[in-house]
Amino acid sequence: MSKKINSLAVAVVAICLSFTAAARDFTMGGIKIEQPWTRVTPEGAKVAGGFMKITNTGKQADTLVGGTFPLAAVFQVHQMSMDGGVMKMSELAGGLEIAPGATVELKPGSYHVMFMDLKQPIKAAETIKGSLIFKKAGTIEIEYTVAPLGAKDPGRSDAKH
């Protein structure tokens, strides 16, 4: 409930970047980012995935083209799928387009933002600030929560089925 009120306040107040540390939703122009999260990485890991829900409340399509993550030298937008036991992953060179009114979920096994050349592993109990860059909405400052190693969603601590 308080999250809703919080994000509403953000939407109303912020034309530019403005959010509270507790907020999990971030809005800029017609783009709303819900609950960005990432995961603890294994030792020595050089890559990690970032996940969130992106909603385009605007009248025009917008495209996630990039972003920044403080622990990573490289930030890419990727898609991933499983095809007959084969994991396939590729960079979306043109970015990820969000149609007007559409919500796209970035989640494990699907679309994700990819943090590459990690300078250090991602540790538990951190929140990590980052940004996303959209073609039209511009730069949105966001904050990732950190789920445990192998987590399938941001909230649960158990990755098993």
Binding site: P42, E43, G44, V47, Q76, G85, V86, P108
Partner: protein, 198 residues
Amino acid sequence: MTGAIGHRTWIALSLFAIISIGVGLAASAWRRDAPLSAPLIGGPFALTNHEGKRLTDKDLLGQPFAISFGFTHCPDVCPTSLLDLSAVIEKLGPEAAKMRFLFVSIDPERDTPEQLKLYLSSFNPNITGLTGTLDEVKVAGKAYRAYWQRIPTSDGYTMNHSTFTYLIDRHGKFHSLIAYQQPVDTQVAAMKRVIAVP
């Protein structure tokens, strides 16, 4: 002239021999009612483990093992599989000591033994990381019918790869497959079955 004919005959005979062996293997697999033809998965390999020591298929004879392929620059599937495998090993308890758990890097350019050692320190210590030269890894991958492909990105590359775990019995024979994200209990049961092979 006769040389040419001899050459052709030789090719024909070779082809015949290869086809015969193939049919024979398929037939023997069929008779045993195996879900996958046993002789076609598994085979010789020689790799280097995460401690820098050499390991070959011969060293494993007498001990069942689980072998899977992946890489440490893998954001999702590999850590998830290794986490599942860690849970499986824990659930196996003392039984786990009766088999080996191998993780072969398909990205030996970046996955040195040191990198594998560091990476695997986040998982169950019974998992052995393996890497080698590109050729050595290719030989191992081919033996297990593992598939991978290098996919360029704007700043380097990533890998598409198959995600199966292959279970091999103590005689070095293929036993069964575990698919990505099969429930931990199902995996534990499969491991117990391969351990139980006399």
